[in-house]
Symmetry: C2
Subunit: 399 residues, 2 copies
Amino acid sequence: MAKAMVYIQSGGPTSVINTSLYGAVKEAQKHPEISHIYGSLNGIDGLLNDKIIDLGKEDPETIELLKQTPGAVLGTTRHKLPKDLHHEEYARIIETLKKHNIGYVFVNGGNDSMDTCYKLSLLAKELNMDLKVMGVPKTVDNDLAETDHSNGFGSAAKYVINVTREIIADAQSYDRYKGYIIEVMGRNAGWLTAATDLLPEEARPDLIYLPENKFDTEKFVEKFAEIYEKKGLCVVAISEGIDFERDETNVKIDSFGHKQLGGAASDLGKLINSRLGISVRAIELSLPQRAFSFLTSKVDSDEAEACGREAVKHAVEGMTGHMIAIKRVSDAPYKVEYRPVDISKIANVERKVPGYMMKNDSHMDKSFRAYCEPLIKGELDIKMENGIIKTAVLKKVRV
Amino acid sequence: MAKAMVYIQSGGPTSVINTSLYGAVKEAQKHPEISHIYGSLNGIDGLLNDKIIDLGKEDPETIELLKQTPGAVLGTTRHKLPKDLHHEEYARIIETLKKHNIGYVFVNGGNDSMDTCYKLSLLAKELNMDLKVMGVPKTVDNDLAETDHSNGFGSAAKYVINVTREIIADAQSYDRYKGYIIEVMGRNAGWLTAATDLLPEEARPDLIYLPENKFDTEKFVEKFAEIYEKKGLCVVAISEGIDFERDETNVKIDSFGHKQLGGAASDLGKLINSRLGISVRAIELSLPQRAFSFLTSKVDSDEAEACGREAVKHAVEGMTGHMIAIKRVSDAPYKVEYRPVDISKIANVERKVPGYMMKNDSHMDKSFRAYCEPLIKGELDIKMENGIIKTAVLKKVRV
């Protein structure tokens, strides 16, 4: 008997998060095993509070536009499900699943979201429910385990690389130079920052710092001074998560009791300024890294769509508790295969940049280039209207 | 007798600054009156210190790539020439002009740079030199007088509009909302910030603040609270130059004695957080606004090229002391004419957003939309290589 599917977007958006949704929807339309294609609003919250929409009611043009729409169109969440499978939250989820006769759940997200996926698959197993739960990988941080890379990383890397190229071109225009510190996403894994090393030598950062390495402030100041002295300009790319001693005397505490730290680039800029008297421009690449559609990598987009499709294919064949991983077959020509991996191996595990991919503390090894280069290739043909990107605006018809 | 021309880039780069250079070079190649096509390195500094390159020695492919190359390829400067035309700096400039038999000078820049252009034309007149000096308009700030708009503004506006769209899509993905303050370039003129009002209603900033209006902090906090209460989200776009009382207790003084102010967005974010307890993400759009090639407006690019060409055409016909202004003939269909304007009317004058283009202190009037919309239209076909933008790298053969 055919059952409905529900699709969940979870965690931070990427440029291709909606492309995986597109892939899943298009694939599901081909399978009579799937009676309805639903979306859960704001991640797992949609199942918890019965906020389910019928994606079958959306116009085909809207579905096509998903491939160039930033943000997570279904809405997302950072809510984490409780450990105890007897917690009342699971009862609410089960209620929603039953109410809409849902037999397939797809969770598109990073390591935290794969935890949601894992718990739902355990729940289904424990209760012997007729429910297939599959994961679709997604994170600009590229820190998901058991997959060569994650959907969203290639496009974010492409943005970071090209925007760094533009910033350096701008910086090199001046006769009176200064310092530039570019802050890139990545709390614990430096994949995105590392990508800037793919730029041609005359236009790449002079120094690159990843959170994987211990940050030595004194050595940093010394190197900065040395490069500035020689070139009259020093461009640094850092991961937001690099570990250095901040001046916490000015740190404010917000009303929720959280420390309000300034950005790492801004703090390091002040440090350089006070120690070397060099004027520094701190540039936080911020949200556009994961939201910018204009530099979406075609490879990343195609793979994101494929992962959405593969998840559906395997689910209707009866698989559950797996995430679609990308297995690289070769670098040149670049070739991948899609392989389901047991979700328990992925949930909550973080994959960092391995030591052998770093040449030294300021540049990457050629193995990183071989790894990263294929992932940023190819461009999308973005549809515009009067100079503004066309995006999918869902009708969100509730069921 | 044919004479050489020299081209000067001055002030901050724009996405199309090198497109005007492209136009001037291509046009100059057609005129036998021009014996050599030179570039001055780092703005007027090239004439002051005899740093002149022969653009005729560059590959045609490099010249073509100028149209998608960020930064100012000749290098730029913020140096301002002295008032006194008998100052030794002018003697050095004259020496360089004579040495290379230069009869045509083109200055591509904003109001400060048009001052350079003006002074050079006065110098030529006073000394009865055979020298034609022409200005080419350029500034993302759009604050040049006597022209409908400036080359570079349309592309910067297009970037600001689209990246704001992406940021808002990302912001709308979350269930737990917060505040966003987007800081846009513009010290005294709010043209770029105003452009965000062109976004469709569901995806445009809730509040827009330009430096043209007095900023009322109390009213801002009140409005922010009201919108946040209603929508669970509040997105604000501000010009970097809006005038508000900053908390200066934490201001640091750098080694040059300059105050190190934080960004306006960051400071306003802290204000909202401390007053309303709402978490705010401050996003400074920073250098990509003027350096990003991927959202270059075709209209802007074509006009930048045309202004470069027109300057050359008029110069060889004997004109001097003028800047090529853009005169709008009609909004729909959008049509412009290029008209030389006496440079003395332009140098050092700032054009702000006129009051009638503002509907109220948070949105723009429809007259602004009619003005701005045509300027962001059309896309370039950007050439990429392995996912990275191809840019012109000049050989810079000195003469």
